[in-house]
Every structure is written in structure tokens, then in C-alpha cells.
């Protein structure tokens, strides 16, 4: 029988559409009961003796729950005790409509054979289908449909039954009106609670019922913690009219109650809006794209310099929020106040699965636990899990599902476990995941584009390339380097000038544009170097073999060859694709030794000396132009060859040869940048380093002033010069510290497309134009530059995407992002290995310098380990000492001692693994001695202990 269902619907364009669907009614839908003799079903689901011990229903019966019972009491329905349930199609459809997770659970129940749950398609049954009546709401109609179906069942069972014991149907509903109507029509109907309580044999069910009921009350009664988010249409209108600003939220690492939103506006470069407090953050999570409304000027605040971590372990649903936020409320100077706003809506969530650990709830048997992400900028997430005990001590991944406005924390669910916390593999996985570093093995599709082995240079290649195999080319790299992408040569020409060549691995020969290999490399963007591990951008065959310019094998190269005079002035520059044969792969130290060894006069050494001489001149010229020599401490771990645990740690040393290689790489990059920009003014991929805004230097100027040193920041040159003369007697390390501080003031250098920007200047190198050309094995930008250069010299053909400045701009964005993330991952890896190192060392006592002064802490740099740590002066468990912070200095007065930047202090260093999730290096003050603040110097001199002796 055909019926039609008619309804009207609003279309997306705002119109109204009448939709008519055909609806077929059938007479061959069976009841699914074993007891039924009338229906011609092949197999039955519902049992004949559907007995459950109940003091309300002493007869065998089937349960028919209504929609709300399913939605709210799904836990009960899931219990194995509850069997022989009829789920009506009406109920199923409504549940599906209202809650996807519950629908899924319901489907699971239905599929479980043991549960004997039958779905009755009442909407298609000839006798149970009903049409909506005039004046009846959709809900009323569904309730009626459920009653009609229940009624049909009870009559059907009565009619078909011969036995006396009388199977019955019991309708479960919590709706008073529905219950009354059902009783009027002669149905057996109970409230869910009534029924469950009547199950004498299974009292434990009542607990679960009560629990879920409480839950419901909690949701309705608990106060709303956050303001409602605005709908997208309002947000868009607001952004258009200028009342709201759109930007990406960046939570503060140090303070979970603070975040900034970077707003990109058309008129200016962009502004930062400060968001402070849970209410104003309004459930926005780090990296979400949000709409922000500015607060009135009198409510603007200054970013607090307090370091604040969300710590209360059992704290739930914002009772103590007021206290927490009081910490922030300090009257800041008018000038320090910044643009402050509040989040009014979320435009795009940027949730991904987060790594972290579970804080197991103190209440036993509780299935709801808090999860603390490894990234401090992500709030803690409440998840529901029954396997909490097995997840303790594991690194797990959790995805956020949503953040209701009455909940202090977002809700999420468990995704997978990564392994035990603190284990090296797990931690490495965590930091790769957290920094979004693609680190899966290369797919088969990618590998299929690799050259077939054995590979050799073909005659066709030779025809197109210049044969430079006869030149004395050598490479200089750090020890253990297998991806050698640059090699050098220098020789005297007959006219007395010098010929200098920089030969770069010709990666673009192997990676052709547009194939899977190219796409993968473009996505990875860069090779990531972690301590003891390298995440390659291109498969190993290329990175460590075919592209690597190893000694004594023929390799394809892209060469940049200059003719220079002895004053290192470039007379001629040319670029060519070539074939080279490196004569030696040296380390920096080896090269240095050759240069220094006056007895050694072989070709390689002579070539190196020539290079070194020119490099020194080049460097001098560069510095004269105002290039900055900045400092940051880099550490190197000596790894145990078997366990790969760090056994020693030293800061990296720089040798003359380091700077020699660097000079020629810079020169090559600049030459190439000019060439590709001349050839492709609209689509050259360049790298720029913007000059920092003057305000960035505030901290440097203040710090220098405290030591009576004048720093000029008007130009890069002025800065470089004033840094050179900045010296304090009896404080040799001062200059390095100052340079470290200056580094922190700098902006991030970025890739960009020349057609999309007008400012090309590289501030740090004092070069008007710059790009990356010299490391195509580990940077994708260089591959693009190689392709551009190859087209420019007619050595290769172009393709559409190469000259599309919008596509290139998009590529630059990805490269900049990957580059930044790889740096963070590198730092995180160093930090983790530092922790491993200190774990085996116990407590150390070291000398350090104050690098920054914060409101409640000082940040100390230990030059010996290149390690930075924070010494807190307030802690939760003991009374805080008298602290006075002076922003002008900045100085911090603790009791009677005042800390300035650059103060020499002594601290103990130990590994704090009380929080296994965030193991951190803990520093405590030993000198100067401040009563109640500093700690005693540990007795033993642990440095004397060599780890080897420990075993």
C-alpha cells in the first residue's frame, strides 16, 4: 500500500520547498517473537520465556522503551540483565536524530545476539503506521505511534497465543502524559525507575539508574559557566561590520588563563588581542579560529608575568575559578595595558587528537577522568573510560568531542595508547605527533618514483651536464653526516684570479614535479633532526646515497661557480648542472687540522686554504655591512652506542671551518637569489628576515642598562657594533649573554614568494635579497629554488605551478609552518634528552646566570649545559616569601636580595619526575643564600661521579 509523506522544508537559499516522499506500508513485517504462531518469520529474536524477576510484572514480558528512556538510560539498556526489548523504528529514528553516540550504542545493543533486542519497523507496518493529525506536534505523533505499536503487539500476542502464561508487552516511559494516555488505552506502562526498582534479583541496576539520573540533574542544575557562543551568521555579520575581529587563538604556555588572538586586518599588519580569564576565553582552545569582541578600554589589562599552571588535581567544574583568576588581577600601569577582548564565537575548531596522560579520578569505579595533554596550551579534557587503571602511566591520545557551556573542561574520548610514559620511543612519538611532524614510513606510491638500483649516470645525463669530475672538490660537514648536500672547490686560474665553486646535490633531478614523491617532500617540507634520530624529507636512498655528495663517487650536482680576485670580489658568476666527484668528505675538525698543518700541501688542503682565506674576507665584508653575529647555545649529546642514552653533554664548538662553509653557502644563496629574482620577478621563492619592531628590544636595552652598557638598535649595523663593544670587566660571559638576549628579540625568518611581497630584506645577514639553495636534501624550499634556477639557465623545463605565485605562496606557508614545527620538535627532543641525562646524574650544583626576571620567578641559564630553567619563588606548599617585582629594571626583590638580569647565581639541578607527564628540570637556588628560599648545597660532589663508574 502506498502512502505519501509530505513535509515542507526550508532550502538553503531561503526558499520553502514542499517535499513529498512515497511511503510504502507492508503486511509482511513480523513481530519477531518465538511464541508467535501467526507470523511467518524465519528466525525469531524475542524469547518465549522472557522472564525477569520483577515484583511489578510477574509474567513474561517484552519491554518497549520510548525515545527518552533510550536516550537517558542507555546504560541500563546496555546491561546484560535487560533482555527481550522491542525497539520501535520510531524510537530508533528519533534517537538517531537526537544523539549520534547513543544511536551507535543502541545499534550495538541491537546487534548483540544475547540481548534479544528486536527492531520493529512499525512505521512501515500496515497496522501501526499513523499519520500526523492536524494540531498534533511531531513529538506527540511519535508518542502516539509508539503507543499504537505497543497496543498492536499486546493484541497480536494475545491473539496468537495458546499458552496460558500470557506474554505481555510493557511500555517504559518517563513522560507523565504519555503514560496516562497509554493507561487509558489499556496498555501496561511503567516509569523506567519504577520498573528497574522492581527487579528484585538485580539491585545493582538501581545504582546505575540513580547515577545517570544524578547526571541529568547535574546538567540541568549546575550553573552555566560560559557564555553562549554566537551563531556563525551573527559572527560573520559582526566581522563584516567590524564589531568582531577574527583571528587564531594562541594560548599562553606559561599561563593557562591567558591567550592572544592574532588578528590579520587589511589596513595594517595585524594586531594582537589579549584574552584573559576563563570566561573571556570562553571554551576556545589553542589554534582555534575565533571571533573576538574588544572590551571597553577601561577593562583592558596587561599580560601578567605570572607563571600559572592548571594544577588542582581533583578540582572540578569551577568552584575555585574565582580564586584562580584573582591571581591575574593586578593593577597594571596604564601604558602596559594591551588591547583586550573576549571570545564571542568559534569560527573553526582546530581540534586534533592530543597526546598526554590520564589523571585517574580519586573516586574508585568512576569512569570519568581528567586527561592532561602534553601541550600546556591545551586545557585538560574530561574523558569517560572504563580502562583507567590500565592507562595509568601511559601516554595516550585523546580527541576532544565538545565543550558544553556548563562544563569546566571539554569532553573527549580515548583514541589510542602510545606506550609507557618516559620511555624513549614513546616520548619521541609524542613529540613528533605534538609538533605535527609527518613521520610515517614513505608509502609505496612515493617509493615507486625512486630511481631503480643500480643507478648510474647515463650518457644522456653527461651530454647535458658539465663534467667537473677532474676538479678537486671536497665536502666539509659535521661528524656522522650522511646527507651531504654541499661540496666546495677553489683553484687558481691562469689569469691569477681564483675560481670558487659551490656544488649542491642535484635533488631536483630525482624529484620531478607533481609526482607522489614530490608531493610528499613538499608536505614534509624539511628533514627533522632529533637527538639520535633523523626524520627524512626524502627517502633514504636519495638522502644518504644518490643525492649525497660522498667522496670518490660520481654524483650529479648543481654548481655555482664564481671567478673572484684575491680581495674576494666577484668578477663572474655562472650556474651549471654538472657531474662532480668529491675527493674527500671531511669533518669540520679534519678540515681545520689540514688547514693548520703547514706540512700538508696536497690539492685538497691547498683548496681548503684558499677557501678559508676568501671566507675570512667575505665575513669581514659582511660584518662591515651590519650582519649580526648572534648567539644561542647549542648542545650536543654523546650517546651511548648501545642504549642510545645520552652519556655526556657539551655545548657545540664553532671552528673556523664552520664559518668557512657557512660563508660560501651564504654567498651561493645570495647569488642564486639575485639570479632567480631577475629571471622571475613575480614568482621567485625567497627568504626574508624582517627587522624586529623597536619594542622587541626593550628587554635587551633594560638588561644592558643595568650593567651600564649602551646598546643601539637603530639599525642592524648599530646593533652589531654596540654588541661588539659591550664588555664588562671581570664578566667575560657577559657578551655572550647579551647576544643570547639579542637573539630572543629577533623575528622569525620566513620564506615568501617575491610576487606577493615588497620587502625582501634579510635583517640578520644584512643582505637585500636571500634564498635557500644549498640544502635541497633536507629542505623543500631549496628544491623549488633549484627548479627555478634550472629554468633560468635553460637546463630544465618549467611547469604551471612553479610560476603560479598564489600556489607558491601557499607552499611557502606550509614550509614556514613545517620549519617552525621542526625547530620546536628539535628543542623538545633536546629537552627530553637533557632530562634523561640529569636522571642519571642525581642532583647537580652549577653556576648560572639570570636571563630573565619574572614576577614570581627567575629564569636561569647554565652555560655549561646550555640549559635554561626556572627558579620559582612561590610554591603552593609553603608560605611565599616577600616578593617585589619592579617592571622597570626588571628586578625582583625576594626578601632582602634583589635579582637583576645577568646576576650570577648558583643552583641545584635535578630532575623533577613527580609529574611523569611533564618531567622537568627543577632548579633551586643555593647562592645567594636567602633564608627560607634557597636550599642547601648537596653534600656529595656528584659531578665527580662518572656514569661509567656507576655501573
Amino acid at each position: 500500500m502506498l502512502k505519501s509523506k509530505t513535509f515542507v522544508k526550508k532550502t538553503r537559499s531561503g526558499g520553502v520547498m514542499k517535499i513529498v516522499r512515497e511511503h510504502y506500508l507492508r503486511d509482511d513485517i513480523w513481530c519477531g517473537s518465538e511464541a508467535c504462531t501467526e507470523c511467518k518469520h524465519e528466525s525469531t529474536v524475542l524469547q518465549k520465556d522472557a522472564c525477569i524477576e520483577s515484583n511489578l510484572c510477574s509474567y513474561p514480558h517484552y519491554l518497549v522503551p520510548d525515545t527518552n528512556v533510550v536516550l537517558h538510560q542507555i546504560d541500563i539498556l546496555e546491561d546484560p540483565v535487560i533482555r527481550n526489548v522491542i525497539i520501535l523504528q520510531t524510537v530508533l529514528q528519533e534517537v538517531r536524530h537526537r544523539s549520534a553516540p547513543i544511536y551507535k550504542r543502541l545499534k550495538d545493543i541491537i546487534h548483540e545476539k544475547e540481548k534479544h533486542v528486536y527492531t520493529f519497523t512499525n512505521e512501515h507496518h500496515k497496522e501501526t503506521f499513523i499519520e500526523r493529525e492536524p494540531g498534533e506536534s511531531a513529538n506527540d505523533r511519535n508518542d502516539r505511534a509508539i503507543r499504537v505499536a505497543a497496543k498492536w503487539y499486546s493484541q497480536h500476542l494475545k491473539a496468537s497465543e495458546a499458552e496460558a502464561d500470557g506474554l505481555k508487552v510493557v511500555l517504559l516511559t518517563n513522560d507523565q502524559g504519555n503514560k496516562q494516555k497509554a493507561e487509558e488505552s489499556g496498555l501496561l506502562v511503567y516509569k523506567c525507575e519504577e520498573y528497574i526498582k522492581s527487579l528484585i534479583a538485580n539491585p545493582e541496576l538501581v545504582d546505575r539508574l540513580a547515577l545517570s539520573n544524578d547526571e541529568k540533574n547535574e546538567i540541568t542544575s549546575s550553573k552555566v559557566l560560559f557564555p553562549e557562543h554566537l551563531p556563525l551568521s551573527r559572527i560573520q555579520a559582526g566581522i563584516k561590520s567590524g564589531t568582531f575581529l577574527q583571528g587564531t587563538l594562541r594560548a599562553s604556555r606559561d599561563n593557562y588563563l591567558e591567550a592572544t588572538v592574532f588578528v590579520q586586518r587589511e589596513q595594517d599588519d595585524g594586531t594582537e588581542v589579549l584574552i584573559q580569564g576563563l570566561q573571556n576565553l570562553n571554551r576556545a582552545v589553542h589554534q582555534d579560529v575565533v571571533a573576538v569582541q574588544l572590551l571597553p578600554r577601561n577593562q583592558w589589562v596587561a599580560p601578567s608575568s605570572v607563571v600559572l599552571q592548571d594544577e588542582g588535581p581533583a578540582k572540578d567544574d569551577g568552584v575555585e575559578d574565582e580564586d584562580e583568576e584573582n591571581v591575574l588581577k593586578t593593577s597594571a600601569a596604564e601604558s602596559a595595558r594591551k588591547l583586550t577582548g573576549k571570545v564571542v564565537g568559534i569560527i573553526k575548531r582546530n581540534w586534533r587528537p592530543f597526546c598526554g596522560m590520564l589523571n585517574v579520578s580519586h573516586i574508585k569505579e568512576s569512569t570519568r577522568h581528567l586527561f592532561t595533554p602534553a601541550d600546556r596550551r591545551i586545557p585538560r579534557i574530561r574523558i569517560e573510560t572504563r580502562q583507567a587503571s590500565s592507562l595509568v602511566g601511559q601516554r595516550i591520545m585523546v580527541a576532544i568531542d565538545g565543550w558544553p557551556k556548563d562544563s569546566r573542561y571539554p569532553n573527549g574520548h580515548f583514541v589510542r595508547s602510545l606506550g609507557g610514559a618516559g620511555e624513549k620511543d614513546t616520548e619521541q612519538e609524542v613529540l613528533l605527533l605534538e609538533h605535527d611532524v609527518p613521520h610515517q614510513a614513505f608509502s609505496q606510491a612515493v617509493l615507486s618514483f625512486l630511481p631503480k638500483m643500480p643507478w648510474s649516470i647515463t650518457p644522456e645525463d653527461m651530454v647535458k651536464r658539465e663534467d667537473l669530475r677532474s676538479l678537486t672538490v671536497c665536502s666539509v660537514d659535521p661528524p656522522g653526516c650522511t646527507d651531504i648536500d654541499d661540496a666546495l672547490h677553489c683553484r687558481e686560474l691562469e689569469n691569477g684570479n681564483l675560481e670558487v665553486g659551490v656544488h649542491i646535490a642535484d635533488v631536483s633531478h630525482f624529484i620531478r614535479s607533481g609526482n607522489a614523491l614530490d608531493k610528499e617532500a613538499a608536505n614534509r617540507g624539511t628533514t627533522v633532526y632529533l637527538c639520535g634520530k633523523r626524520i627524512d624529507m626524502v627517502p633514504e636512498l636519495l638522502s644518504s646515497n644518490l643525492c649525497s655528495l660522498r667522496s670518490n663517487v660520481d654524483r650529479l650536482a648543481f654548481s655555482c661557480i664564481w671567478e673572484m680576485n684575491h680581495k674576494a670580489e666577484i668578477l663572474k658568476t655562472r650556474f651549471t648542472k654538472s657531474v662532480i666527484n668529491s675527493k674527500a668528505s671531511l669533518t669540520y675538525a679534519e678540515a681545520q687540522m689540514r688547514i693548520d698543518d703547514t706540512n700538508n700541501n696536497d690539492d685538497i688542503t691547498v683548496s681548503l686554504r684558499g677557501l678559508n682565506k676568501l671566507a675570512k674576507i667575505l665575513k669581514r665584508q659582511r660584518i662591515a655591512k651590519g650582519a649580526l653575529t648572534l648567539s644561542s647555545l647549542e648542545v650536543r649529546f654523546h650517546m651511548d652506542s648501545e642504549t642510545h642514552d645520552p652519556i655526556d653533554l657539551q655545548t657545540k664548538e664553532l671552528m673556523e671551518t664552520n664559518s668557512m662553509v657557512e660563508e660560501f653557502m651564504l654567498l651561493a644563496n645570495i647569488s642564486v637569489a639575485q639570479k632567480i629574482h631577475d629571471e622571475f620577478p613575480e614568482c621567485a621563492l625567497l627568504r626574508k628576515h624582517p627587522a624586529p619592531p623597536p619594542s622587541n628590544y626593550d628587554i635587551l636595552l633594560k638588561a644592558a642598562k643595568s650593567k651600564d652598557v649602551e646598546i643601539h638598535t637603530d639599525s642592524a649595523k648599530a646593533l652589531a657594533d654596540s654588541l661588539d663593544v659591550a664588555k664588562v670587566d671581570g664578566f667575560p660571559y657577559f657578551n655572550t649573554l647579551l647576544r643570547i638576549l639579542a637573539t630572543r628579540c629577533m623575528m622569525q625568518a620566513v620564506y615568501f614568494c617575491s610576487g606577493m611581497d615588497s620587502d625582501f630584506h634579510h635583517y640578520g645577514l644584512a643582505s637585500p635579497i636571500y634564498t635557500h639553495f644549498t640544502s635541497p636534501i633536507r629542505r623543500y624550499a631549496d628544491i623549488i629554488v633549484h627548479r627555478l634556477l634550472a629554468v633560468a639557465i635553460g637546463a630544465d623545463s618549467t611547469y604551471a605551478d612553479l610560476t603560479d605565485k598564489h600556489k607558491q605562496s601557499a607552499l611557502c606557508n606550509n614550509l614556514n609552518y613545517r620549519h617552525k614545527m621542526s625547530q620546536y620538535a628539535q628543542r623538545a627532543s633536546v629537552a627530553f634528552h637533557t632530562q634523561l641525562f640529569f636522571k642519571s646524574r642525581g642532583v647537580l650544583n652549577e653556576e648560572g646566570f639570570v636571563l630573565f626576571v619574572r614576577k614570581n620567578a627567575i629564569i636561569v641559564l647554565i652555560p655549561k649545559f646550555g640549559l635554561e630553567g626556572t627558579v620559582f619563588f612561590d610554591s603552593k606548599d609553603k608560605a611565599a616569601p616577600n616578593i617585589a617585582f619592579d617592571e622597570e629594571g626588571p628586578t625582583l626583590k625576594v626578601e632582602h636580595h634583589t635579582f637583576h638580569i645577568f646576576d650570577k647565581v648558583k643552583v641545584t639541578i635535578s630532575l623533577d619526575d613527580s609529574n611523569i607527564q611533564h618531567q622537568k628540570i627543577r632548579m633551586a637556588l643555593t647562592e645567594p643564600v636567602i633564608a627560607g628560599v634557597s636550599v642547601a648545597i648537596p653534600d656529595a660532589e656528584p659531578q665527580a661521579k662518572k656514569p661509567k663508574l656507576d655501573r
Binding site: T6, G14, K18, P134
Partner: protein, 291 residues
């Protein structure tokens, strides 16, 4: 227009019959043929009706859509007509054969129905100058056996009577932008007042007399006909002469008077019938197209 060939002898026979107020099929000059009306025929329209008059059959569907009011009439909705001369009706309509007739018919329908005296167009306005209901009246000729205008007009009146427009209300948000909201009850709908909707009466001048509801044979004997739209009060809202012959003023006057009389008499039973059908609601057995 569908035509038949009539011989001279037949013509004389018809003419003489009409002179004596006795037509070939036994009707008087002002009588209609047997008429059948059924509404709510097409479920995916908002209102529909099928009318058969003799062998003439037309189906009318009304679809209501939200549109923008005409700039000159910002607080009124409007109607759009489209007449589809299906080749099923007569082989002459095959290809583009029915196009000219279709345009002619729809032009007349605009004149007759799309004005505020026939329909309360203001009730179709949702928000002034921004949204209004546009009623798309689609006429499908299923079979042609003369007197298309009358059959179409009756079908349109019936279909408009049957039309149920979903109720909408406008809610404005804080920025003053308007949002159309739909009621979720399918029974919550607006009806159109068809009291003043006229019916068309076509009078054919045959010999010295004129006939109502001419068959194709009678039409072949006629020189010219007059289309008159008449409301239930007997008001003439539109007249139009069609056909090649000429009419003298006196006979135009006579024909108008006759048209008024016939038209006025047509409305009352039509409305009674429609209301009776409506009252049956869902219990009504639908006849459909297969009867």
C-alpha cells in the same frame, strides 16, 4: 487551436438547430456540457485541480514559492501562468505546435486573474518589499474538445481554492536582518480567498445567436467569439474578442448580458462542490487519472 472540418450541410444543420435553441447534443444555447471537478490531484503541488468538460480535460497545479515582490507593488505577491499544450491533447500540439496557443492562453489568464480585484494579492506578501509568495500556476491541457478558456478558469479557481501555503513568520535578529521561519506542523497553512476569483465564459456567435460552451463543430461554424470573465456577483472583469469575424455592438451587448447570466449561475454550484469535497478531507476516495 484544434479544429475539425465541417461540411456545408452539417453547418446548416447546426445553425438551424441553434436558431431554435436546440443544439446537436441536445443542449440549450446557455447550457454547459457535463463537467467533472476533482481537487488535490497532484501531491507535490500546493494546490491542484482537474476539470473535464465534455471531452476537454485540463489539469492545473499551483506551486507557491518565495520570491521578491515587484518593485511597483512592494506589498503584493503575484501569480505566474504557464500553459503547457501537451501533444497528448491533440496531435497538432506536437513539437512547437502548441506554443502559440499556450502563450495566448497564458496572456489572457494574466489579465483575468493577476489583479487585486480577483485575488487578495496583499495576503501573499510576507515582508514588504522583500519577500512575497509567488504562485506558479501551471496549466496542462490533457485533451482538447473546445471551450478551453472556461475549463481552464474553472480549474484555476478550484486549484486556488485547494492551495495550502505553508505558514511562515519573519523573525528579525539584532542586526535587523530577517529570517524566514517555517512552522513544523504541516497542517499549519494559509488558504487563499477565492470568493472574487472570476470564471471565464466564452460565447460563440453562431448565425444570429450565440452559444455557451461550444463544441469543436459549433466552433467551426462560428465567426467570432467573446471571452467574458465574470465574478460571482455578475461583475464583468474582462472581455476579449477572439476569432476572425466581426461583431456588431448590439450583439456584443447581448452576449455580455448572456455571459453575465451564465457566469453568475456557474459560481454558486462550483463553490458548493469545492466546499463539499474539502469537508470530506482524508476520507475522500480519490478518483485520480485512471477512472
Amino acid at each position: 487551436m484544434a479544429t475539425v472540418q465541417v461540411s456545408e450541410a452539417e453547418k446548416v444543420y447546426i445553425l438551424h438547430g441553434i436558431r431554435d435553441d436546440l443544439r446537436v447534443d441536445g443542449r440549450g444555447c446557455e447550457d454547459y456540457r457535463h463537467m467533472e471537478i476533482e481537487t488535490d490531484m497532484v501531491s507535490n503541488t500546493d494546490g491542484s485541480a482537474k476539470v473535464t468538460l465534455g471531452h476537454t480535460a485540463v489539469l492545473v497545479g499551483v506551486k507557491a514559492e518565495i520570491g521578491k515582490p515587484r518593485p511597483m507593488l512592494p506589498n503584493e505577491g503575484y501569480l505566474e501562468f504557464f500553459v503547457d499544450c501537451s501533444a497528448n491533447a491533440t496531435p497538432e500540439f506536437e513539437g512547437r505546435g502548441g506554443e502559440e496557443l499556450g502563450t495566448e492562453l497564458s496572456n489572457t489568464l494574466y489579465k483575468v486573474f493577476n489583479n487585486k480585484h480577483s485575488l487578495d494579492l496583499k495576503s501573499l506578501c510576507i515582508s514588504r518589499g522583500e519577500h512575497c509568495w509567488v504562485l506558479y500556476v501551471d496549466v496542462l491541457l490533457l485533451q482538447c474538445d473546445g471551450n478551453l478558456y472556461d475549463a481552464i478558469s474553472i480549474a484555476i479557481k478550484a486549484a486556488l481554492f485547494n492551495t495550502k501555503i505553508p505558514k511562515v513568520h519573519i523573525s528579525a535578529d539584532e542586526e535587523g536582518r530577517k529570517e524566514i521561519e517555517l512552522s513544523d506542523d504541516p497542517y499549519d497553512c494559509m488558504r487563499i480567498n477565492v470568493e472574487n476569483v472570476p470564471c471565464v465564459v466564452t460565447l460563440c456567435k453562431v448565425g444570429h445567436r450565440h452559444v455557451v460552451d461550444a463544441t469543436l463543430q459549433e466552433k467551426a461554424c462560428s465567426v467570432a467569439s467573446l471571452i467574458i470573465s465574470v465574478t460571482h456577483k455578475g461583475t464583468v472583469t474582462c472581455t476579449r474578442k477572439v476569432g476572425g469575424g466581426s461583431l456588431d455592438p448590439e450583439s456584443i451587448f447581448e452576449m455580455t448580458e448572456a455571459g453575465k447570466r451564465v457566469g453568475k449561475a456557474l459560481h454558486a454550484p462550483l463553490m458548493a462542490l469545492l466546499q463539499q469535497e474539502e469537508a470530506q478531507g482524508k476520507r475522500r476516495q480519490k478518483v485520480g487519472f485512471l477512472s
